[in-house]
């Protein structure tokens, strides 16, 4: 009898260790991803390549946002506005110097600075207060572009001057490479960042600020840093969108965009970089699907709005059924089995 019990206890204790998958190093995952994407760009037709590029651009911002919201517990509705910051900075720099790497650097830097300002305020706010403040930031974009219309050309926006890609590479393929190159670098950096001490600090602050403080974590500093990192990612995404569309306007960064981003990270599981990828894929797929449904029924109103309804329903259902996102369902069942 005693033997059986000890044996049970031993297996129960061992089970999580043996059951835990060995983590593959992020560099390997990213390398595999890069090979896959490059291969895909040669197979896909131009329009699909363009969509692939859009997924990459979305991935930059969803990955950053999922680290901020999922790992650090700060809800931001202002990431659409941060993307706009990146996009406008890129457009202004690019139109002046026509040097894409330089423009990217300036765009990311500019967004990081704006993110730091918002982050400093955000670190003092919790829950609905933070959501409200970032919501206000998101709605202020058209106001800023109309007020300083000599710089931003109000609702019309700016066009982005671009050097044509090398002649051997089609435009869409070049766009896909650019976006995915940036996305993979962003995801790799984030993955390395959250594996270590910083990631632990993020989670500690999210779960219990007092306990984190007692354990020697600088809560405010961690929160500001998380916001800055996440803002930089949004800046990359915004810059990519500016390059993809070859124009920027406030209409491209409405409040709905911020809500879509939130949906993307919630459905993929808050805090999961893989989830951010699925979210980014859905952000491109669902509107395309709903558009084709709208076209097939011949209803223009359905075209633009069906995606909104679907996203909203998904967001509500996932939050009610599995607040940790779809990935958390799997984890829960695994826990139960182990017990």
């Amino acid at each position: 009898m005693t033997d059986v019990r000890t044996k049970d206890a031993v297996t129960a204790a061992d089970a999580p260790v043996t059951a835990r998958r060995r983590r593959v190093h992020p560099v390997i995952v990213i390398a595999v991803g890069a090979v896959l994407v490059i291969a895909l760009t040669y197979v896909l037709p131009p329009f699909r390549n363009y969509q692939l590029a859009t997924v990459g651009a979305y991935l930059c911002v969803t990955a950053g946002l999922t680290v901020l919201t999922g790992l650090n517990g700060q809800l931001s509705l202002g990431h659409g506005a941060l993307m706009a910051t990146g996009a406008y900075t890129l457009a202004l720099t690019q139109n002046k110097f026509l040097n894409l790497p330089l423009s990217f650097a300036v765009a990311v830097l500019g967004t990081t600075v704006v993110g730091a300002v918002i982050g400093l305020a955000a670190a003092r706010l919790r829950g609905p207060y933070l959501a409200g403040l970032t919501l206000a930031v998101a709605t202020v974009v058209p106001s800023v572009t109309s007020t300083f219309d000599e710089t931003f050309n109000s609702d019309q926006g700016l066009s982005v001057a671009l050097d044509p890609p090398p002649e051997t590479v089609p435009m869409e393929q070049w766009q896909a490479w650019l976006c995915w190159g940036a996305a993979l670098v962003v995801v790799l950096l984030l993955a390395l960042l959250v594996r270590g001490r910083f990631g632990r600090d993020l989670r500690a602050v999210r779960d219990d600020e007092t306990a984190a403080k007692l354990a020697g974590v600088d809560v405010a500093r961690t929160q500001v840093l998380a916001f800055v990192v996440s803002a930089a990612c949004a800046g990359v995404a915004g810059a990519l969108f500016a390059v993809l569309a070859q124009s920027v306007s406030p209409g491209a960064f409405p409040l709905t965009l911020s809500l879509f981003l939130l949906m993307a990270i919630v459905i993929g599981g808050l805090g999961s970089l893989f989830g951010a990828l699925w979210g980014a894929v859905l952000l491109v797929l669902l509107p395309t699907l709903s558009q084709s449904v709208g076209e097939s029924t011949g209803s223009q109103r359905l075209e633009g709005n069906l995606a909104l309804v679907v996203f909203g329903v998904v967001l509500v259902v996932v939050m009610l059924a599995a607040p940790g996102g779809l990935a958390s369902i799997r984890m829960k069942t695994r826990f139960r089995r182990n017990r």
Binding site: G73, G127, P128, G132, L302, V309, V316, M319, L320
Partner: protein, 292 residues
């Protein structure tokens, strides 16, 4: 001077609308500790219903009454079907679900009514009276003063003078004890949502004619102003919401009048930042620490 007087009355009129909207937010915050980010979209839905009724029957007042009823029904539905099941372990959950509702409502309204601004009727003229050559306020402004004033008085009486109001406060303050004493806490919560949504619909009906018209996203910016108003007053305080609404209304009116209309949202953002960082509990906060 004339412009200053005009802008002040205009600001008070706008401010009262924001006050009503902020009151709706405060009602739900007090009852459920949720900031209802879907309030704007819910109000727009009610305004669209009123718009349909008014167009079909030609009567503004029938539409007005139907809008308030639609608000009540929508509030009950949202609470009973969705909000009741939100997991409150993280304050993020309620916010995210409300934002999901925003997407659903805006999408559905877009499908039914299209994404164009539809002009709406006003029951009274918006031309301002002139006293000694100075434009003061319009009949419509008087209507706004009256409507919001009536709501504030009615809510005050409800919460301080009636048994139902006492139960609602008890259910919000100490749910477990109230339940033991025979208060239907769930019922009070639903009632709170219904009342708040109706007040929000009223605010929507009052604000839409003063803007471009009704559109699925018409209330986004209004929501931000109302949220700011509620925060200025402290999310917990109904009096604070009214004062906060007037502050925001006056600020918006002066900024639009003296600087430029496009600057107004930035002014609201600046006010929100200043209040949140300087006095996060709002001007009317009690000494109790913030829960969320």
């Amino acid at each position: 001077m004339g412009q200053f007087v005009y802008l002040t009355f205009d600001g008070l009129s706008r401010g009262l609308v924001y006050a009503a909207f902020a009151l709706a937010l405060v009602l739900i915050w007090r009852a459920a500790r949720i900031v209802n980010f879907a309030q704007g979209a819910m109000a727009v839905a009610a305004v669209y219903v009123a718009w349909s009724v008014t167009n079909a029957t030609g009567s503004y007042w029938l539409g007005f009454v139907v809008a308030l009823l639609a608000g009540l029904v929508l509030g009950v539905t949202v609470e009973r079907v969705v909000m009741r099941f939100v997991d409150h372990s993280s304050p993020l959950n309620g916010v995210v679900v409300a934002l999901g509702l925003v997407l659903i409502l805006q999408g559905a309204l877009g499908i039914v009514y299209g994404n164009e601004y539809q002009p709406v009727q006003t029951p009274f003229s918006r031309d301002a009276f002139e006293v000694g050559g100075v434009a003061l306020l319009s009949r419509y402004d008087l209507f706004v003063f009256g409507a919001v004033g009536a709501v504030v008085v009615a809510l005050t009486l409800l919460f301080t003078r009636t048994a139902v109001g006492l139960r609602m406060r008890a259910a919000a303050f100490a749910p477990d004890v109230s339940r033991l004493l025979g208060v239907s806490v769930g019922g009070m919560l639903t009632l709170g949502w219904a009342l708040a949504a109706a007040v929000g619909s009223l605010a929507g009906m009052l604000v839409v004619p003063t803007e471009l018209g009704v559109h699925p996203t018409a209330m986004d910016v209004v929501f931000v102003s109302a949220f700011t108003a509620a925060v200025v007053g402290g999310l917990d305080s109904p009096i604070g919401a009214v004062v906060g609404g007037l502050v925001v209304g006056l600020l918006l009116s002066y900024v639009s009048g003296y600087v430029d209309v496009t600057v107004a949202p930035m002014a609201v953002l600046a006010l929100l930042v200043v209040v949140l960082l300087g006095r996060p509990g709002g001007l009317f906060s009690s000494s109790k620490a913030r829960v969320a």
